[in-house]
Amino acid sequence: MPDTPTLSIVNASFSHGPRKVVKELDLGFFPGRHYVMAGPNGAGKSTVLDLLSNLRKPDEGEILLRGLPLGAHGPAGLAKSIALAPQSSNFNFAFTVREVVSLGRKPHLGPFGRLGPGDRRAVDEALDRLHLGHLADKSVTGLSGGEAQRVVLARTLAQATPIVLLDEPTSNLDVAQALDFMETLRELAEGGALVVTVSHDLSLAATYAHEIVFMADGRLVAAGPRETTLTPELLTRVFEAEARVSPDDFTGGLTVSFRRAPRAGAQNPRP
């Protein structure tokens, strides 16, 4: 692993109006790793993705890409480096699935948006990866929630960036599709990409993440390889529920299970 991170958050804070949602955050992301960011609702995870993708600018601190502030790379440069799969996507017009996935090639195209053979190959590959081949010529406005999510993910893959950010990418997928996609993300990371996923699904994270980032109330609680971060103590602190972690022979990863913490013990969970 190189010693300087590709993407780093340096002492960043961000407020929504009066509410500070990200507080003095310091975090570095290295290539070739798949990070899963987890934490309770309102922990600031999605805002961190917004900061990393330059959709929002931190009030204090900065976000560096290869040592330079995000803004210094320009919109076109950033779009060639960082892709974001937002949690929800609205399809207002009857583009076909292939057309929407092709829009992922936008940063690589000239002003009139003609796809070259390389662009078409990237689009076909992305369609294949998400098993959308049979839907390629269908209109996106008639898709189910899971299909629509797969279109967004395929579009993000078609962008072919070294950094991929994903907000709850498996929330609408069924089990097989979710496993399949997490496998795809692992392959991307093993191919050298930096992948950051915000997810509520800790069992998927426990199986597929290289690194886990725990946030609570806008602050970093812990970050590191899943072996050191997926501990009952940390999980209990982050999620305010009693947790157990056990090795899982079946998946080859870890299994995380929760039960409700006793009411009185919610603040200091273990005697």
Binding site: P75, F93, K138
Partner: protein
Amino acid sequence: MAETVKDNQGQAPAGPPGGAPGPILGGKPRRVSPRLLGLGMALALAAMGLVSLASGHMPFSAREIFDILVAWLSGSGIDLPENRVMALVEVRLPRLMTALISGAALGLSGAVYQGLLLNPLADPYTLGVSSGAAFGASLVLMAAMFMPPEVISFGPLYPAIGAFVFSSLTLLLVIALASDADRRLSPTSLILSGVILSAILSAGLSFIKYLAGEQVSSIIFWLLGSFQAQTWANFGIVAGFFVPAFLICQASATDLNVMTLGFKSAETLGVNTRRVRLTLLAAASLAASASVAVAGIIGFVGLIVPHLCRLLTGPDHRSLLPLSALGGALLLLAADTAVRAFLPGEIPVGVLTALLAGPAFLVIFRRKMKELIQA
């Protein structure tokens, strides 16, 4: 519009792909090739142009039209009565060209508004551009009534300037109202601001009409929209705005496609959504208000044409923008030829387009509602 047949049988929307509803909401869109549609409309436009030049109070044969145009373009003399030549090249041709370019401007601006506002039912009205233009023109027309003739020698260009100034002001105000703290422009707040300003301007317009008293007819006639007595100068005004606006919009067609995916997706694909939105709003609005300025308010062209083109060839703005311009030109030329040469009296063309396109709009609206309910 046989291609737009609906084949939804009330299937559950989450059902198998085969059960997806019709072309607006899903299923395999039945599309016409944009090139084919473009070619068809260009041919229809040429034919319509010939019909338009030939018919009317003073009929011309195709041969005469050809001879006069060739002589006029090459600057050589022609063996025909002066009044016939003048009638064609100084009256009928500028009127035809102004109707055509105004239709193109309205079609283009409608397509751009619909893409920017993510609303297939948006048009120059939605943003208050038309109301602003109408208010400005009426203000000038009214001022002219109260001024002694020496002060304001009343020409047709004055209401045009009023229309122009006020539609631009309205647009600036709409953008200012719709910008949130992050200086983002959301489609919803743009439409809401547009509708609110439109309502205020309409009230202002009613007040002007009330003040105008017995002379209200000149205002009303202007508001209804007409291509009577158009000059080459008028054509020049609209073309001067339409051509750059078209080039600007066409160069941003892919950005417009990307922006239909929403703010986050568009920004992370490298599109500066605020800049594109401002540029395209300004370009489309200037083109639309240039058309309003010379011909008054002609509704529904900007609404119906892009909508039909999208149904036929799909929503890709790279082809949708030129097709909408072409379709707008065709529709408005046909409508103007009809009111000038084939319908009794001369009803204002805006009335005809509203009468024809209004019901078509209702059909589309109903179909859309049905699909939304089924989804």
